[in-house]
Amino acid sequence: MGDYMLEMTHIEKHFGGVKALTDVTIQVEEGEIHGICGENGAGKSTLMNVLSGVYPFGTYSGDIHYLSEECKFSGIKDSEEKGIVIIHQELALIPQLSIGENIFLGNEVKKGIGIDWDMTHQMAESLLHKVGLNEDPRMLVQELSVGKQQLVEIAKALSKNVKLLILDEPTASLNDEDSNHLLDIILGLRANGMTAIIISHKLAEIERVADHITVIRDGATIETMSAEDGISEQRIIKSMVGRELTNRFPARTSNIGDISLEVKNWNVYHPQLDRKTASDINIKLRKGEVVGLSGLMGAGRSEFAMSVFGKLYGRDITGQLYLGGKEIKLNSVEAAIKHKIAYVTEDRKSCGLVLTNSIRMNTTLANMGRISNHGTIDADQEVNMAEAYSKLLNVKCNSIEDNADSLSGGNQQKVLLAKWMFTEPEVLILDEPTRGIDVGAKYEIYQFINKLVDEGLSILMISSEMPELLGMCDRIYVMSEGRMVAELDKEEATQEAIMTSIIESAGKEQSI
């Protein structure tokens, strides 16, 4: 005892009859970075909510000792006063306010009864400096990239004199470069004496920065590993899922057939700005093939895919589409769906599902014709179909009448996939199909992808996780700044090869 800055012992938390946490014990030393790993639903977020007082003292059992006193927080305010600050996965910044206003929101720097703007901006600037962000504090948050917004969140936490910073999935929506930058900043803060808890699915990152890692499974602490004794990704996974995952990507024997979709000389302009987001792109997809589309964030991969999918993105689109050798024109999403093309969005919450609708309604939405007759919905058939597709994708729910927002990220992703499988596609474009979901659900989705290509579908998989592309794809296209810069076969594709082609293309661009 006493050695630890934070000690949570035997934490138990119920929701009604459901146990969310059964027995969690976690000990955090002062000045360390402590990683927490666990699958979705293991209880990580619940634990952090207990710590920060979202679930007030009395609604859980167990002890929390922080800076050698017992804590009985009755709300977030209490924990923040003690210097415990959480940065949630979904950022809590207000896009229409400036960086400075956001940092001091609820904690404004006052001069008399008004706000001292000069002081606000000056203080904001020095905080931004600490997190390595060189932006004008008067700039609106909506103009920042997600990565930079994350840094503003940290600056905001620093403004509250944070002693213990908790980051919930800080890099979930960042690309590798931004993630690395963020992790460096956190390491820098540690060097200055800050203590941090990081919850993440990206095990490589945790492995890189954490001094200790606590693994939680099914609401209980499984073990705490120390960096001194050596931590490997494999070992974390083994501990998280209860057994060793021998292979993170299920094996598949490729059986590649004829060309299904071919895109030729594809050009797309940005909807507002006068620049191309895709220029002269040529790609081919074959039946039974998983084709990867790699690139840094902002390379224009999603924009390209959406522009193919019934001109969902962009303007002045030119180029040809061939489906099974025949030229087709897709002027609407409806037409794309009719031609058996499906696009599974990267943003399941805001573009994929209608969260307030049931699993059933979400499943059938993109192909209502299949369960209706002259515009009248056959309710019974709809139930049967939705049940069948939920089963096909192994969606875990109490009933298909559950609203989509009651599901975990992994299950939402499965519902989204079910929705697009319901359109019976022959060409499936998957945009970040495993973003923000746990290892187990990822594996299930990989298995499902393999099953689909076995049945002869063509899959175009966009992903920012290179190991995923390398593990799953038969061929990988690399995109950079709106152009296709490389096409790599499975044999020649490595992380280095991909990065090299991106960097070389950027160099070429500059020299011109």
Binding site: G16, L312, C351, L365, T376, I377, I400, S408
Partner: protein
């Protein structure tokens, strides 16, 4: 195997709750409670003041239907607008004023045949709806602003057409469409005021009412012979005549009620049989029978009350068509489903191949159509087109939707709920008027009720998300166990 056992309770839950929405039923219970409360208050007040008031008096129920018919029609249209994403239409009250004025000009001033005037009014309604719909859906101007502009414009144009005056009366054949009662041939004769002398004066002026003529025919007398009777001899004839009319009215309304009930029963059990034939799961029989019995009881009670007044109001036919039509549209049709998707998440709807602009345009065009229908009903009921017609109807319609459980964010709400919401507002107005509550207090109370209804909605959603949190843990835990095994 585990999948089978998991899906069994799912199906049972679905069929057990078929058509049963907790939220909707809460409002239904609140409505019944409100009606009973008014009944108690009104009876207590009237017995204290030696009056004969009664909330469930046949005349009052008949009145209630007439008073609220146009609000109900508007509320159903408003629901579609609200579903698209919490957008409201502020212009409907002014729209009613403008189209009423046009109806007055066409029907009363220009004496156009109804077969021409009525369709023109409906087309104009669709026109103004389409105009607003264009600005909202295709020019992407917020609905609030477009309809606020419409509210001012339509009221202004309506008053310009009327020139500040009221147009009335409308011809009798017009009010027959929306404001008559079935059976239409017979009305009662006032017992006290109808004297032989009065009949004699009718004979002299040659203006003999149809009911007096019927009375004479029935007793094998001429009207002149009637006028020669003594008062004491005439009275029993009139009461006998009135009794027979009352019997006819009651028989007709009960017959209509019985036909509707039988249709309802047949529909219910046909759909059940169809499900069974196709091998789909059906719910337990007992709750469905109980539900059917309750619905039939309400229909027959209403028929009985109406039969004890003037008969079956024809406006119920229009209301029935509107309610059933839009219930079908929202709950059974593909475009109806698209509306919910649009309101729930416009981007997802777009990504699913739904033409969201078109749906938005449709919702407002349809609102214009229903504004025209409501105007025609309104004109028939007041027998006039007045400059103040439709004042604050938009608020009643919006209120009805929200009280009926529609979400202010869109994507949630049902026609059934809206009907209950509209009746709730109507009962509130009617009951408070009978109790003689001051008009200003009535407004204040209505405002507070609306706030409480929305508050209940929001807090029940919070509870729902509490449950959501709850269920967030459940499936995930299962998910962990299942995913890798």
């Amino acid at each position: 195997m585990s999948n089978n056992t998991a899906s069994a309770p799912t199906l049972q839950k679905k069929s057990g709750l078929a058509g049963f929405n907790l939220k909707k039923n809460t409002m239904l219970l609140a409505l019944i409670a409100l009606m009973i409360a008014f009944e108690i208050l009104i009876v207590a007040q009237s017995s204290a003041s030696f009056m004969n008031h009664d909330f469930f008096a046949p005349a009052n129920i008949s009145n209630l239907i007439g008073q609220n018919s146009y609000v109900l029609i508007l509320a159903v249209g408003m629901l579609l607008c609200i579903l698209t994403g919490g957008n409201i239409d502020l212009s409907v009250g002014s729209g009613v004023c403008m189209i009423s004025a046009l109806a007055g000009v066409f029907i009363v001033n220009l004496k156009l045949p109804l077969a021409i005037a009525v369709p023109i009014c409906l087309l104009i309604g669709i026109g103004i709806g389409a105009l607003q719909g264009y600005f909202i859906a295709y020019a992407h101007i917020p609905a609030f602003i477009v309809t606020l502009a419409g509210m001012l414009t339509f009221r202004g144009i309506g008053n310009i057409i009327l020139d500040g005056k009221t147009i009335s009366p409308f011809p009798a054949n017009y009010s027959k469409i929306f404001n008559a009662f079935l059976p239409s041939t017979s009305t009662k004769i006032p017992t006290l005021t109808t004297t032989p002398k009065k009949i004699a004066s009718m004979v002299d002026s040659g203006d003999i009412s149809t009911s007096i003529q019927h009375l004479a025919d029935k007793n094998n007398m001429t009207v002149e012979q009637l006028s020669n009777l003594k008062v004491a001899d005439l009275r029993p004839l009139i009461s006998a005549y009135n009794d027979s009319i009352a019997t006819t009215l009651l028989m007709v309304t009960l017959a209509i009620g019985a036909v509707v009930s039988i249709l309802f029963i047949i529909m219910t059990f046909l759909s059940r049989a169809k499900k069974q034939r196709k091998g789909y799961p059906v719910g337990a029989l007992v709750p469905q029978v109980v539900k059917t019995v309750l619905v039939v009881a309400v229909i027959m009670f209403l028929s009985y009350l109406l039969g004890n007044n003037k008969g079956f109001p024809v406006i119920l036919i229009t209301l029935g068509i509107v309610i059933i039509g839009y219930w079908y549209f929202t709950s059974k049709s593909v475009p109806g489903r698209y509306l919910y998707a649009l309101g729930g998440n416009a981007k997802s709807a777009k990504f699913s191949g739904i033409n969201t602009d078109k749906m938005m345009f449709f919702a407002y065009t349809n609102m214009g159509f229903l504004v025209a229908v409501a105007s025609l009903v309104c004109v028939a009921r007041f027998n006039s087109a007045a400059p103040s017609a439709g004042t604050s109807y938009e608020l009643d319609a919006i209120g009805a939707c929200f009280i009926g459980g529609a979400s202010a964010y869109g994507g949630v709400g049902t026609v059934g709920g809206t009907v209950i919401g509209a009746i709730f507002m109507g009962v509130l107005n009617n009951g408070m008027s009978i109790l003689g509550i001051d008009a200003n207090w009535q407004k204040a109370i209505k405002g507070i009720v609306l706030l409480i209804a929305v508050l209940a909605d929001v807090s029940s959603q919070k509870k729902g998300s509490g449950g959501g949190l709850f269920s967030k843990i459940l499936p995930k835990k299962d998910g962990n166990k299942g995913t890798l095994s």
